[in-house]
Amino acid sequence: MDLQTLWFAAVAVLWTGFLLLEGFDFGVAALLPVLGRRPDDRHLMLRSIGPLWDGNEVWLITAAGAVFAAFPGWYATWLPALYLPFVIVLLGLIVRAVAFEWRHSSHDPRWDATWTHVITGGSLVAALGVGAALGATTLGLPIDGDGNRVGGSFAGVGWPAVLGAVAVLGFAVVHGALFLALKTDGDVRLRARTLALRWSPVAALPLLAWAGIVHLRYGTPVTAVLWLVAALAVVVTWARIRVDREGQAFAGWAVMLIASAATIFGAAYPVVVPSTIDPAFDVTVADASVSDYTLTVMTWVAGVGLPVVLAYQAWTYWVFRKRLTAEPVHP
């Protein structure tokens, strides 16, 4: 495997890692008004992701950084083509981040409730927006031969972006519910389980559709197998929720995401930004890549750095592995 392919795979892994980790904290945040009927429930839900969300969000920064580092042509085409949509995503992420810290800075329940809503709103915007951006970069953006967007500010938000947005949100909501079923106890756990059981087959459909379309357009027998694995994982997840095996259900749903992402990126390769105007304008790995020397440097850095990151992030999850219960939250 040459370095460009390796780095395309690395970028795909980073985006998948981001969705896998931040996906559940997006989902938990989105479910706050649904599953968190009492303030104590909502506090419990927030406590379950409290120590983890910031570390998860670094996966987004690293994924974007890796796109810039390895494929500046991808970074410099994809981002300006979705200029305002990306700004909206950033605003969602900004208000969400400060809300996590600021909501418990006052004893006033209304203050707390307001910032809790901000966490939900910001997370919804961010999940939909990142999904839209990933949908667009794997299914198509209206770019010309110079990589510039054709059309107005939101011309990049066509059906591919909408499909990506719904797919990521659908995945995140069930992922969040399964995380809560795994990590909490009491009413929240029961409600999360019920929601996951009822909605997981439906919520997986947009993601499977997205992966299926990319596969039909560019796919290989390998991506066909990957897609089938993803579809099968949905069934397994659903069956495991039914028998109350939350850990296995969570793992099954994660396999669904990994297999779908592998289908999408695996099929799309070597195209990184397909043009909806003319396939001749597609930006490919070779067009967008940096030199082999830079990729070699980055390979060494990632080869040493990423295992260390994975080790200490895993340790964090181990430290906070205990199932949480809704104890009365003192003021």
Binding site: D54, F68, A76, S105, N148, H330
Partner: protein
């Protein structure tokens, strides 16, 4: 205004705003880690209370830094796509290294520190904070290495129309980066020192006037003032040394930036240093500026002796026009409206001149306040002077201003270049990139205007909440002087954040 000007305002606003949080994160992180270390070593209750009080401010500030830092990672691609394409072989890898090697460390271990009270062994818990603080410092190193490469591109060769990285070692050991990094770190420590001094003095005075006893809480504020004061003074000395180092490099690498900092119009030997200017202060015509000067000092700052010549703005302008062209290339696809127009190689003089003076002046104000704080609290004294204490509180802003104006100076001073040619390289092999060709060609002025307005409004609102929260938190002070048991360090002691009955101040739990 065209898209270029709006995009520059956007970068300036978002970056200066972000950099209000950054030095406090770095500086206060180091000091809180020191406090926490002292508590683990001595078991004295005041160090625990200091850790938790200042730690809470650190966290409130940290999260806004993280939030606004997200914009930084994306805006090179969003608004500066041509820049991103040009520098892609070098610049992106530094951002990715920053994320992988620094941001993960920072965020993951800070999460462990916040929620780890009582959950992980005491010393391991302390180590998590140090890991997060080291993460912040490493992140500063990488982003400054990236910026310094724009100021002084090394380790690259031109390959077609783009620079290609030839030595990552040269980029990471760029002398510009080493000078700027050390300068930025000690400047960050000054920010934290000023905060400890200002708030500590205010609490000490208030407690004394209210007749409160000399108890643990008194020790908290007193130690804060003493620590902050000594740290500020030491950091100021280092700021001066590292600034001098950086200044001498800049005289070689970007002479026009430094002569503009002095409004030195004509080449002088020996060159005098301008203290303060009068007459047409806002003028950008060099010859309009008249100032009080110290003879020979500028020669010393530039070359370490009191007689060498320092080139003036007018001479340098001519030299740059000869080498890099009197006009932008006549290529509208790359230069837009600027194609074929004359290039002004002189940065905006009023900005460089005054930002430089504000940077140095505000740094000196901080040092003076630190000296006052140490003097007025000597041998257990508590100052009650209204002017002294409130002045120190107000002076918390001084090092923030110094940090911000320092960056404004260095970034505005390299215009019209975004990547400044490296004079150590023969002219034919030099690499440079004008700011005018860096902006995203596919993004409209209306879009950037929309984003700069929305971001500014949101940032402004967040600033109001942030300052409000910190102020209220600071005014409330430490509310544990009410019979909270003395820390023992046992698992059931107050280092358990989730222990019921503790006041909110001692809780980091969500």
């Amino acid at each position: 205004m065209d898209v270029l000007d709006i995009a520059r305002w956007q970068f300036g606003i978002t970056t200066v705003y972000h950099f209000l949080m950054v030095p406090l994160t770095i500086g206060l992180g180091i000091l809180v880690a020191v406090m926490h270390t002292m508590w683990v070593r001595t078991d004295k209750p005041e160090w625990l209370r200091m850790t938790r009080f200042w730690g809470r401010i650190y966290l409130i500030n940290f999260v806004l830094g993280v939030a606004t830092g997200l914009v930084q990672e994306f805006q090179f691609g969003l608004a500066w796509s041509e820049y991103s394409r040009f520098v892609g072989d070098v610049f992106g890898s530094l951002l990715a290294m920053e994320a992988l090697l620094a941001f993960f460390l920072e965020s993951t271990f800070l999460g462990l520190w916040i929620f780890g009270w009582g959950r992980i062994p005491k010393k391991v818990h302390l180590a998590t904070l140090w890991a997060a603080v080291i993460g912040s410092i490493v992140s500063a190193y990488f982003i400054i290495a990236a910026n310094s490469w724009m100021q002084h591109p090394v380790g690259v060769t031109m390959d077609g129309d783009k620079p290609r990285l030839t030595s990552i070692g040269a980029v990471l050991t760029n002398n510009t980066a080493l000078a700027a990094f050390s300068h930025a770190i000690v400047a960050a420590v000054m920010v934290a020192g000023a905060l400890l001094v200002g708030i500590g003095l205010w609490h000490l005075r208030r407690r004394k006037l209210a007749g409160r006893p000399i108890d643990v809480d008194h020790q908290v504020w007193r130690r804060s003032v003493r620590l902050g004061g000594w740290v500020s003074l030491a950091a100021f000395l280092l700021v001066a040394f590292t600034g001098d180092w950086q200044g001498k490099l800049m005289y070689e690498q970007q002479p026009l930036k430094m002569s503009s900092a002095e409004a030195l119009c004509e080449t002088e030997a020996p060159a005098s240093f301008s203290i303060f200017a009068w007459n047409k202060l806002g003028s950008n015509e060099c010859d309009d500026v008249h100032s009080i000067t110290v003879p020979g000092l500028l020669s010393f700052l530039a070359h370490n002796d009191f007689s060498s010549a320092v080139p003036g703005v007018n001479e340098l302008q001519e030299r740059y026009s000869e080498v890099y062209g009197a006009t932008y290339p006549d290529d509208p696809s790359r230069f837009g409206d600027k194609a074929g127009q004359p290039v002004d190689y002189q940065p905006v003089l009023a900005v460089t001149y005054w930002s430089f003076r504000l940077m140095v002046g505000m740094g000196a104000v901080s040092a003076a306040v630190a000296a006052y704080a140490l003097w007025s609290t000597r041998r257990g004294r508590v100052p009650t002077s209204r002017i002294g204490v409130y002045g120190s509180l107000l002076a918390v802003a001084a090092p923030f201003v110094a940090n911000a104006t320092g960056w404004i100076f260095t970034e505005m001073g390299r215009q019209p270049f975004v990547v400044v040619p490296n004079p150590d390289v023969p002219v034919g092999k030099q690499i440079w990139f004008f700011t005018a060709q860096a902006v995203s060609p596919g993004v409209s002025a209306a879009e950037v205007l929309t984003s700069v307005i929305v971001l500014s409004v949101v940032y402004g609102a967040l600033a109001v909440v942030e300052v409000g929260l910190i102020t209220r938190f600071v005014r409330r002070g430490i509310t544990t002087g009410d019979g909270t048991p003395t820390p023992t360090g046992t698992p059931d002691g107050p280092d358990r954040a989730d222990r019921p009955g503790d006041d909110d101040v001692l809780q980091f739990a969500y």
